[in-house]
């Protein structure tokens, strides 16, 4: 049978609309793909899915009756991994869930369930890493600014954490890879697109943009980081496992002096 390609807009609602489409048309052999990553073969059967919140909500509500909160959460986490083909694994999971009477989210010996659980775990780890590795720098207009480059799209997941924690300071967390950020204005968090001056270097703290005090505290933090190390217990392998090198770029304590 020929495979049918469903292309959606990359949003979670878009993906759920595609799932709705599959159920509505009882489509058999299907491949759901993000429009940014779509690879359609010539003569293949393609259809573009229009995102409809009402359809997405129906699927999501239906899943609520079939899965635990934890199970639904894992679906969302795995979706944010943006891994190629993850949509089809999620679809398989959802179809399996709807075909059973009892919640299947703990059926870890089912390949799609295990895969989703494992992806969700990886995304969860990345979320936790970003909660750890965000380094705010105080700008001259009194906003605490941080830039990150996470492996997965975790900004939607870390928003609540930072809002609760830094309730009394304005802050921005900007995802360089995905080109959007979160801005907290002491009241609510908004998604923002930002323009940066030409030649703006995210790894450097430039005195044109950041306060004088910022340099002092970065220095103090670097000193502290060095002093609190016990040289006779040195274990670089463990160090790198906990702080993988790809994150060093934006960690002030790992900057060369």
């Amino acid at each position: 049978m020929q495979e049918k390609n469903l292309t959606y807009d990359g949003t979670f609602d878009g993906f759920l609309s595609a799932v709705f489409h599959v159920f509505e048309h009882k489509t058999g052999h299907v491949n759901i793909q993000n429009e940014f990553a779509a690879q359609n073969e010539l003569f293949s059967d393609n259809e573009t899915i229009i995102t409809e919140e009402s359809k997405a909500n129906r699927v999501w509500k239906g899943l609520k009756a079939k899965l635990s909160t934890h199970g639904r959460c894992q679906l969302y986490y795995a979706f944010l991994s943006e891994q190629s083909g993850i949509e089809n694994t999620l679809l398989d999971y959802i179809q399996y869930a709807f075909s059973r009477d009892r919640a299947v989210d703990k059926d870890y010996s089912h390949p799609s369930i295990l895969k989703v659980a494992q992806m969700a775990k990886m995304v969860g780890r990345e979320k936790h890493r970003m909660e750890a590795f965000v380094r705010f720098r105080l700008t001259k207009d009194h906003i605490y600014f941080a830039n990150i480059e996470p492996d997965f799209n975790v900004l939607p997941l870390i928003q609540k954490h930072f809002k609760r924690r830094y309730a009394d300071q304005k802050w921005v967390i900007y995802d360089i890879k995905r080109r959007y950020g979160l801005f907290y204005d002491l009241d609510k968090v908004d998604i923002v697109n930002m323009n940066f001056p030409v030649g703006f270097d995210f790894t450097k703290t430039d005195s044109d943009y950041f306060t004088e005090q910022e340099f002092e505290f970065q220095k103090l933090w670097q000193d502290y980081f060095k002093s609190t190390n016990i040289a006779s217990r040195k274990n670089m392998k463990l160090h790198i496992r906990h702080v993988p090198k790809r994150y060093w770029k934006y960690l002030s304590e790992k900057q060369p002096n």
Binding site: D107, S109, R135, L138, A146, R165, K219, N229, K234
Partner: protein, 420 residues
């Protein structure tokens, strides 16, 4: 705040505090309800890791490293010729707040050398915490040291501002303490611990009746022992640890491999190795005790006074108790699953859930993440393949060691490596 002076002090007082291994920032329930700064609910976060692989979650510093005591194992002992410094209360507050705002840390871990008297020192520690909470609206994590010999009144106040209190007993046995710290008495350590324990119980009871009762040290108490400084065996260490867990409701006991810092001939020489592997085995034992349902006497007892260094304590227990195995993965209860070498609590949990849907075989177990190289000798599952040979403990141990690569292999090998 004068940058250069603070910088100098921070270097000295962070360096002096680093031998305290406690880094936990979890277990508190201090929510940000006043739109202030910080939040200490849920799990702790390790914001960075030093090159020795230890986590950095708190700004860990001493208020001062001036000290009237002369404990042989301690780097800030009176007789040691080192640079001394002391922070002002406001300096610590500023550092904490500014580090916290930049998401460097989860909070403050404040300890101190003892200057003038126990009460004088404790008063200053409490003053820092009080200022952070009341003036700066700070809801992050605060861990204060209980100074041995501090008055009950001060300990009560400390718990109202701190999330965790700890007092390090450092030397596992009373005789060892007498030898290395003759001017300290075990009772001085115990007294604040008892006070805090009782206050926690009392505040909790009151909170059940009156909702508005303030929190008292919501993340509990912990302590630390130095390993390998005073000649105790593992049995003695874990007995002491068990005693403190049971009688003082401690949240954690930390084990700190002694880092040689003194030419005192009562102690290991400078340059000798830090017992990191032993420390690791003690932590594993601690976990078996707290999360895996083991009684300490099953792992360490009069006949078995030291942990094996080449294999982990659970495997070691299993090899001494082969009559308990093999365990059927699809039938066994949680308690027994947790006792299988190569299975952590996460795998146990996954197995219990997954086997409700179908009987599990080797392939399932492998995918779930069970360390089959160890587990295979101890289990049967939905497969007609399993270990049928009647292997002795030595044989099993040999097979497992052959097929595993320990990160500690170098320190374990006592073979002569010629031409290396």
């Amino acid at each position: 705040m004068s940058f250069q002076r603070t910088q100098e002090k921070l270097k000295i007082l962070a360096d002096a505090a680093k031998y305290d291994v406690s880094c936990s920032s979890s277990g508190s329930k201090r929510a940000n309800i006043n739109k202030g700064l910080g939040d200490a609910t849920g799990m702790g976060i390790c914001h960075s890791y030093t090159e020795d692989g230890r986590c950095v979650s708190l700004l860990k510093i001493l208020l001062t490293n001036y000290c009237i005591f002369d404990c042989a194992y301690c780097v800030t002992r009176k007789s040691n010729d080192i640079k001394r410094a002391a922070f002002k209360v406001q300096e610590v507050v500023d550092l904490t707040i500014n580090f916290y705002r930049r998401n460097y840390i989860e909070g403050l871990f404040l300890s101190s050398g003892i200057f003038k008297s126990a009460d004088y020192t404790m008063e200053r520690l409490v003053a820092v915490a009080k200022k952070l909470r009341l003036e700066e609206n700070f809801n992050g994590y605060i861990h204060l040291k209980s100074i041995p010999g501090a008055s009950d009144e001060l300990m009560r106040e400390a718990g109202l501002y701190a999330d965790r209190l700890s007092v390090n007993i450092e030397i596992p046995t009373t005789s060892g303490l007498k030898r290395l710290a003759p001017d300290k008495k075990r009772e001085d350590f115990i007294k604040p611990m008892v006070k805090v324990k009782n206050e926690i119980i009392q505040y909790k009871a009151e909170k059940k009746i009156i909702k508005s009762t303030p929190k008292y040290a919501p993340a509990g108490q912990s302590t630390q022992m130095i390993i390998g400084a005073s000649g105790e065996n593992d049995f003695q260490i874990m007995q002491t640890s068990n005693h403190f867990y049971k009688n003082f409701n401690l949240k954690r006991v930390y084990y700190s491999g002694y880092v040689p810092i003194s030419y005192d001939d009562r102690l290991p020489k400078i340059g000798s190795d830090v017992p990191m592997l032993r420390e690791n085995r003690l932590y594993q034992t601690d976990w078996l005790m707290r999360f895996y349902g083991f009684d300490i006497s099953e792992i360490l007892n009069r006949h078995h006074q030291n942990l094996d260094l080449d294999i982990d304590p659970k495997l070691s227990w299993a090899l001494r108790n082969l009559h308990e195995f093999p365990v059927d993965i699809n039938m066994a209860d949680k308690r027994m699953l947790a006792r299988i070498p190569g299975l952590g609590m996460k795998s146990v949990h996954k197995i219990i859930n997954a086997r409700r849907f179908r009987r599990l075989n080797w392939e399932h177990l492998k995918k779930i993440g069970v360390a089959l190289n160890r587990a295979q000798y101890f289990i049967i599952c939905n497969s007609n393949q399993f270990e049928r040979r009647d292997l002795t403990s030595e044989k099993i141990k040999g097979f497992i060691l052959q097929n595993s690569t320990s990160k500690y292999r170098k320190s374990l090998s006592n073979q002569l490596s010629l031409f290396g």
